[in-house]
Symmetry: D2
Subunit: 346 residues, 4 copies
């Protein structure tokens, strides 16, 4: 089969012909219909420090996908050949303390598809049956493949009790933009989108943010205090990873507010616990992955009932073979989600 | 001043001229701008069994209102003359176990405005300052006066975690209709409105219910199971008080679901605990009043941010002196909220 | 192997020699060390109406056990031969809405060991690997086998926020008695044990209940109100299934309290929703099974850290072949848990 | 009356004769029976930087007390002359967003007794009636006066779901020691006490900590991982304010754990959000004050039901006039709580 292989320990990747994966008794083989490119994939493609320390070329990368089950292991009973599926990308151990406390997404032995294993940038991908999510049949491929990052947004926003609350989304990459849509759909009183990139802020506007603030142009703290009558916001979803933004996020949070952080700052951030956390009685909640599978159920309901429209976010749809164009777009940053279609390759 | 007095222990009430209430050190005097008629007021007006056992004529009734502060007691610091206000109608003791556990709405010694005290169907009403809610200045009188029943709806719906969930509202009187609006605004995946009255169901449609079911015409259980793929609904808001409806509500609830009951059945209801409650692992939550004052904050955010539009519910606006027309409408039942304006009386 | 078989559709059961179960790829075979008798087993033994409608003789019954893994299917990776284990007795589907929302214990397609499948009253029992719970090696057999019913008690009590609260346990069968111990261990302010059987109440005393009330002898409601200064209790754990007890339980519950019901009343119970549920703002929570597996973790911590001592509850320890004596004790009712040891049979 | 006055802007304080406070309509006057010295009082006494920036001599300081109501304002109805009381020391506004959301302890306009107002180190203290807590009559003065700091411990520990959990208390000053007792009383599986002071650790032992670790002597992280089978602890209560301790606290926390911080680090602490917070999915919760008044109810139940014994913590009991000895003890650090009795002064 054809697969996009991280073939060397340098910039780039190439499409190669490799063997179709062999599945185990609890696995399924999925014929891939569409994939999408995550920021993580770009790190691997560009071969930055994080990538050097984490992945081992040559291997197939990619983890956002949708496709059809074409083969299943002998012990798989819940799935049928022909099922239209996507997949939870965190493979967990089911035996650690977290897994045995219904917190599978916090498993200490998590392996990630396309990072720790061969991924989905290929005609076929092997997935443990427990990680398969059955899609509704009428869900377009381009929405089905972006459910994984959408799940990060849903998990981050719906960790808090959103209805009637004022929510700030800091960092308007694709997941931040999805978070804007989720907060609006779930009854937030006001949603404030904050970024430094005007292209992304224009997408935030399309996702119906009530306020769009460029933190390079205005004083975020005073502006947010103004529109909240000095109260600050009830919920911050931190998706920028930027130190200054994190500190501003803590400043604009009202006493007793929620600070949900999904971003991965590349270095330590100094926090004034006394004034920003303790006296204010706030909660800082780290968010990783998606609840397995309550977040996926939330995803389904948001999409099936058309509570969110993610189409404006999918700014580019390409053939799989044009992957270089996709990665170039990602590198420039002026894009939302980039989807690659496998269909044409067959 | 002029006041609508429940003057005798029979059907009806009459406008009389009585003294303006004298306020205590912690009270305020409110000049009433608009009031609305609650089902409770109708019970009192009609002088049914409940009324006979609860209220003591002659007295002024009514509890839904908005107005302007015209006088305040010497110990009142939070309010100013001229403030545009409504009021929480439950006067609580602030010293029982519930009050000392931040559950003021569950105070065992609650006294209710217009039931246990002189009410707001008058030119002026006396309110303890702790019960006053400051309205935004641009909130129309007709919306300001119905915040109290709206709070019941908000409290009932937002007791559960609504976003992405399937919600059934059983009983589409004014509060049920408001609940439809709240559930929709707060990200419910689907909202199913159930009643036996086609007029009310047509209002449910205006409040944007996804499904409108007349339980006299269809088999509610099989119909709900059909549209939920056999899962049932995640949340039931029971606002009918009807035994059959309550039993149907328990049947359509999914395992682990929430059954929030605000209604007041007039007699005992027989429950199959084993099959409807225990094996299904459901939660039945009694709802009374409004949280003081987190529910009022939710009300404010829903109205200020225009997440709900209650205007279609306010089907009749009359002068205070036309109160008999208002009660007649209520008695017939083919109305939403009936608002009476005091302004014109001055 | 030898197994206690429900061999005919009448009273009783007999030990027969039958084939050792054949395991599937995801199963393990457990050599049983000890079992314990549940009330459910007694229903089956006595062949009452419930049993007639639920189970299909001939088959092996029993579901409370501990033992050692002696064989495992080819797809089982988490377990090793020789592991000392017990088992969660609810076999769930892992694909329904509840299973996909981390509520496995509420799976609508649950099959129960020894009820819907061959059980553990035998030398060997087949268990799906996902249902196996690894015991600490120093846990005595008699404690290991009663973890399953203990889990019901833990689940019921710890569904509420127990520390500092006043808790009433209604019904002091083995699970009620365990609940007394759990509530005491977890910081309940006061624990009130209620039953009609003086033998059981004497065991409640051994489990350190603060108050022991025989509801045949005293007026439960006035007595509880007296010791709670008229407030009532914060939490009721209903384990009697008795209508009068349920109604008393609702009466003694404080406004805003929790009513956790694990019992299975054999007929409908009429509830005064208006006064017992709605105005009081209480929560009724149905409890079934054990959370998979957070309840089992709680069980482990309670036992390992010796927060509870269940030994006084295990009133009888017999050889497996003396099962008739065990069932006779259960039928009389003057016993706590009855444990049968398989070891001696080999 | 006699009062301990912070009379100048230097080290120390002196007993002076000053006027008895005049109360307002909503206040009560309390004749003080006992007071206790908080770390905050020591800051004021020593006149450190924090004190210089916060308080304005001359004024009476002190905030931990018990006493008897001897006078009440005309608008006070809930209290009687002769009531035996203590007081919540945070005076809140009752009109901000936090106060109107049942989060009084997070009021942005909080004034603190003895810091922002005249305090209780005196024969009489003026307290707003809403801040009064009625003590059980048989509660000894020395326990009644330390309820305020005890409330900090209760609030910190019981913010998390403690039963069966492994809890680390970092920092064993009086509040940390109280936290050890609370965690043990409320069903923690294991409680680990960590400090650098052997005197305090010996008190932690008296409070029944399961493990006592001196972080100067052992490697906390490896030691905690050893006793938790590599899982880490479920809950950290951070009461040291020390940067290294905070970082260790985050390291020993299991994925998905709770980090409740009551301490007030004097400078920023650099946090590795990516690895310590986000990937681990932990929650950091700032804790301030006591819930008003649910924490006080928890205090009452813990004391009345003798779930905790705080007596070993009260290492010194002195006459009010010997205040200098009390402050000297506090400055040296080798003490638990120091209580001063007013009774003898009259």
């Amino acid at each position: 089969m054809r697969a996009l292989v991280k073939h060397h320990s340098k910039y780039g990747a190439q499409i190669q012909t490799i063997d179709i994966p062999k599945i185990g008794v609890n696995d399924v083989l999925v014929k891939v219909k569409a994939v999408s490119i995550c920021g993580t994939d770009l790190h691997i493609y560009k071969w930055d420090d994080w990538a050097k320390n984490r992945v081992n070329p040559p291997y197939t990368f990619g983890h956002e996908f949708c496709g059809v089950v074409v083969e299943k292991g002998s012990a798989v009973s819940c799935l049928n050949i022909g099922d239209y599926v996507s997949g939870e990308t965190h493979f967990v151990c089911y035996e650690c303390n977290q897994c045995l406390n219904e917190k599978f997404h916090l498993c200490n032995k998590t392996k990630i598809l396309g990072v720790d294993t061969d991924g989905c940038f290929a005609e076929y991908v092997k997935i443990p049956s427990q990680n398969i999510w059955k899609n509704n049949n009428d869900l377009p491929y381009k929405l089905a493949t972006i459910q994984e990052p959408f799940g990060n947004a849903v998990h981050t926003v719906l960790t808090s009790n959103v209805p009637t609350k004022t929510v700030a989304i800091i960092g308007c990459g694709p997941i931040g933009l999805m978070a804007v849509a989720v907060a609006k759909a779930c009854g937030a009183g006001k949603v404030i989108a904050i970024d430094i990139n005007s292209y992304r802020l224009s997408l935030a506007s399309k996702m119906n943010a009530d306020y769009i603030f460029n933190s390079l142009e205005i004083d975020i703290v005073s502006e947010v205090m103004k529109i909240t009558q000095g109260n600050g916001v009830d919920i911050v979803c931190e998706m920028s990873g930027n130190e200054r933004a994190i500190k501003q996020g803590l400043q604009i949070l009202t006493n007793g507010g929620d600070f949900n952080i999904l971003s991965l700052p590349t270095k330590e951030v100094a926090i004034d616990f006394t004034n920003s956390v303790v006296f204010k009685g706030i909660k800082i909640q780290g968010i990783t992955g998606r609840r397995m599978f309550s977040t996926w159920n939330q995803i389904r309901e948001l999409l099936v009932n058309k509570l969110v429209d993610l189409n404006p976010l999918i700014t580019h749809e390409l053939n799989f073979s044009n992957y270089e164009e996709g990665f170039a777009l990602m590198e420039k940053g002026n894009c939302g989600k980039v989807v690659l279609y496998l269909e044409e390759e067959n």
